[in-house]
Structures are given as structure tokens and as C-alpha cells.
Amino acid sequence: MPTIIACFKWVIDEAYIRRGFSGDLDFSSVDYKISDYDRNAIEEAVRLKGSHGGSVIAMTVGTPEATKGVKDALSRGPDQACFIADADFNKLEPSQTAAILADVIRSRIVNYDLILCGEGSSDLYAQQVGARLAEHLEIPCISFVQKVDIDGGQVVAERRVEEGIEIVAAPLPALVTVLPEINVPRIPGVKDTLTASKKPVMTIRKGDLAPLGGARLQTVGMTAARMDRICEKFGTEAAEITRFVDALRKKAVIS
């Protein structure tokens, strides 16, 4: 029966980010969430367990505050969690996150069959951690997956490519990154939350890991995206509709 690892990231909910006066980002009233597509990864891991048995480990790298995310993840059906935490882990870039996950999986999770990741995180959407992790572990990688199943010793997946869809197979263990179309993540109930708090969590600290390599990508600026638009409003009365269409004609975008 398969052991499935579902990776997730506890991220700032981008809907709460405000634009500051000087074009900076105002994070003062933000809330956090499990990154959108990672919820699909967790759901899919639990769904596969439902049809094939086995167990699901939810795994994350983050700051100690991400403990809320660990509880949230466990309320979605995984059997246990692996929480790699350090106060410095809010500034990791994809190559570092992948290296940390690989280190922990190699050293502490002996027999795994499938690793599921979201296609990209809702905050930085670099879409690198899954693919890089597969390289570190030297296992096959299948990305942009909208349907997945385990068939004997292999994973079979439908992935989206430029021209349409490819149905591919790879021997286990393998890593799959999923698109949101793959399932509809559950909304955990009160009972799920209560059960989650009783599930085992393996907490790993920075000191338990191999020394972390330096960042290869450096963020030198993070500013609010500018959309300088006219922002003129119109009503629906006849005269207003005429004025609206005239405005478009003046801009020469319609004839």
C-alpha cells in the first residue's frame, strides 16, 4: 500500500494585501492560508489513499507560525504531518525549499511511493519546488497534472501540455505536481479539526538538517503592481451609455 507525501506551503492570502501610499506592499492586515493548489495536492493524496489504502504524510517548510497550517492540513485527511520549522524560513527561495524537503525525505521517510505538490504557490508562483525536489531525489517528475492514479508499481497521469493532453506513466517512486482542476478540496468540519489535533506531527528544526546552502536567487525589490487607469464611472441611463461608447471611440479602440 502506498505511502504518499503531500507538500504544502502556508502563505499570505494575497486578497488581503493592500497597496501602500508609496507603491509599497501593505501586509498589515493579512491573513494566511494553505496555498490554493497545495489544497488540491493534499486532497488528491487523501483520495488516492481512499482507493489504494496506505498512508498520507503532509509536509511543509515554514516559520513556527505555520503550525496553524499544519493543523489545517491534518484536518483535510492526512494521517500525520512533518513540519520543518525555523524563524528564518520565510525568506527561502525555491532551490533552498527543495533542498530542505529532499534532505528530510531522504533521511527520515524511508519508503515513499508518491510525492504530490501543487503546481505553484499562491504567493510567489515560481513553480519550481516540485521539479527541483524530484531532481534532488532522482525520481521521475510529472507536472501540470489534472488526473492521476496509481497502477501497480507505476503512476499514470494526465498532464496538460501546449498542444493538449499527454497521458504518461512513470515508475514509482515519482513526483507529481497538480493543477486545481484535479479535484475540489474539502472544507474541513469541526470534527475534522478535532481529529486533526490528535494526529502525530514530526517537527524538525533547522539544526537537525544538513547545513543550508545560500540563496541563488535574490529578491532586490517587491513593489505593488501599478495599474494606472482612468477609472471613470458611468451609469446605465441612455445618455451615460452614449458617453461610455463615445469615450471608447475617442480612444480609437472601437470604430
Partner: protein, 317 residues
């Protein structure tokens, strides 16, 4: 030969990357090498379009996909040691780039939308979209090669130049990848390509029934445009095909006119229209975020406004 490397699955993407490649090469006095998968006949064409060297990747067996090239590309990159390596940000291109970056132990700027050398001409500063479109992240890469994936249609394709010369070199065939393709389903386009449309009418959640999309189609017909949609319309309601979904995880468009009907203006969607010349919108919620990013907004029910708009357009033309 150190310099600028480019990799794309398709010719049109390669021409866009060659455009950036030529610009960067001119700045740093280096050459441009293009990896060409599959068809060696295109090598001359790539040279005419700015490649100084074309590295031919041999055609793959039927059950192989372009990730199979990974070990060959990595080996060649280790030998040639390029300064910059750009890949087209197609699904397979993104995966391949991340895996190449992992093997070369270097950084990668994903979905890069702008890249320029800093004043000293040493560091390549790259911009990308973050937080679902709310922010622009600027990054530099501290290791070699500097890698980036470039979304298709972000840059103009390069134009051909007569009399250009270049080398063509064959790279070895890769061993078979462990990922085998069992079946390919080529998407038959149910619709026209809206990335080229001058006018795009976007359908949002304000529409109550799929039949009502006729309103959007009539407006598109009246304006000589095409229709697109927000993610919920294609992915949750399945009222329109996925290739019409506009946004960060869908397609990015740059029409002369974008008109959103019943579109709330979630940042992920807005990111797909930021390069539209004029953004217009109809929404009954005065506080909908779309009005903050629109040039012209009608505050009102689309079921009231759209027929009136149609009438006005017919009257005026």
C-alpha cells in the same frame, strides 16, 4: 562558447527568446546559441533570426516527451558554461527549466516579464509577477548561468536578417526518460485564438445562465472581437473552454479593448489583462475591484447595460 542560450518547444516562442537573446548579447558582447528540438531543417531559419549557433536536439521516440532532453542539455551547458539561459514558459518548458536549474545548481526566475542589465552592466535584473498579480518582484541570480523562463507573447518576435551566418552542431541522443507517453490528445480548438483579438469581451460570474452568454457574443460580433472568461466560468461552470480563461494561470491578452461583463476583477484575472490598451467593465457592484483597474466602468446590471450598449453601437456605426 559562453553567451546566451535559448530553448523553446516552438518556433514562434524561439523567435521571441531570440529577440531578448540578441539584445542581451549585444550588451555583453557575446553570442546567442539556440537549442532546437526535433526538426533540423529549422536551423538556418534560427540563424537568420539571430542565433550564432544552433544546437540540434535529435528527434525523440514516439513515447518520449521533451523532458527526455534534460541530461543532454545539462551536459552541454556544463561544458559551454553559458552566462544566461532562457526557456519559453510553456508547461514542459517550465518543468524542464526548473530541473535544469536544479542540476546546474543555479537560480531561476520563473515567468520573467522584463530583464535588463543594471547600470554597471554586470547583474541581470529580472521582473516577475507575485502575490497573484498584486506585486512585481525584482530578482537577480547569484549563480551561473542566470536562468529565466519567459511567458509566450511577452516579447515581440525578432525579425530575420539577410546574410547572417552561424554554426550548426548536433547534440547526442538522450537515453529514454522514465516518464513514458502512453497517449496524446491534441486539443481541437473550439474557438478562435483570442490572444490575437483586437477586442475581447470577458464573461464573469455576473452571468446567471450559460444561455445568457449570447449577450457577450452579440457584443463581440458588433465590435469584431472574441469572447474570453474568468476562471470560475471555464473551470467551475464549464460554460466556456479552458483556453478562453484569462488570467495568471490562464492566458494573458493585450487587446486594444477589454470589456469585462460581470467580472469582479480578482487580481489573478486582472494580471491577464494588464497590457490591454483600454480596460472597460460592467458590474453592478460599485465597489468591485475591477473599477479600480478599469479606464471606463459602467456601474449597473449587465443584463440592463449590455443590450443598451449593443443598441448604441449599432446606432453609431
Amino acid at each position: 562558447m559562453a553567451g546566451i542560450w535559448i530553448f523553446a518547444e516552438k518556433r514562434e516562442q524561439a523567435l521571441e527568446l531570440l529577440n531578448i537573446g540578441r539584445r542581451l548579447a549585444a550588451k555583453t558582447g557575446t553570442a546567442v546559441s539556440a537549442l532546437l528540438p526535433g526538426n533540423p531543417d529549422a536551423a538556418r531559419d534560427y540563424i537568420a533570426h539571430g542565433a550564432d549557433e544552433v544546437l540540434l536536439l535529435p528527434p525523440l521516440a514516439a513515447d518520449q516527451s521533451c523532458e527526455a532532453y534534460l541530461p543532454v542539455i545539462v551536459e552541454e551547458a556544463k561544458t559551454a558554461d553559458p552566462d544566461v539561459f532562457l526557456c519559453a514558459a510553456t508547461p514542459r518548458g517550465k518543468e524542464l527549466a526548473a530541473r535544469i536549474a536544479a542540476r546546474l545548481e543555479t537560480g531561476l526566475c520563473s515567468s520573467c516579464i522584463a530583464l535588463n542589465y543594471d547600470e554597471g552592466g554586470k547583474n541581470l535584473e529580472m521582473e516577475r509577477i507575485a502575490y497573484g498579480g498584486a506585486a512585481i518582484q525584482k530578482v537577480t541570480c547569484l549563480t551561473r548561468p542566470v536562468m529565466a523562463t519567459i511567458p509566450p507573447r511577452t516579447f515581440e518576435p525578432v525579425t530575420a536578417e539577410a546574410g547572417r551566418e552561424g554554426h550548426i552542431r548536433k547534440l547526442p541522443a538522450p537515453p529514454p526518460s522514465r516518464v513514458r507517453v502512453l497517449e496524446r490528445k491534441v486539443r481541437t480548438r473550439e474557438t478562435r485564438d483570442i490572444t490575437e483579438a483586437k477586442v475581447v469581451i470577458a464573461v464573469g460570474r455576473g452571468f446567471e445562465k450559460p444561455e445568457d452568454l449570447a449577450l457577450a457574443r452579440q457584443l463581440a460580433d458588433a465590435l469584431g472581437g472574441e469572447i474570453g472568461c474568468t476562471r470560475p466560468i471555464s473551470e467551475e461552470n464549464h460554460w466556456l473552454p479552458q483556453e478562453l480563461c484569462i488570467g495568471l494561470s490562464g492566458i494573458q491578452i493585450k487587446p486594444d479593448l477589454y470589456l469585462g461583463l460581470g467580472v469582479s476583477g480578482q487580481i489573478q484575472h486582472v494580471t491577464g489583462i494588464r497590457n490591454a490598451k483600454v480596460i472597460a467593465a460592467v458590474n453592478k457592484d460599485e465597489n468591485a475591484p475591477i473599477f479600480g483597474v478599469a479606464d471606463f466602468g459602467i456601474v449597473g446590471d449587465l443584463y440592463d447595460a449590455a443590450p443598451k450598449l449593443l443598441q448604441e453601437l449599432k446606432r453609431g456605426s
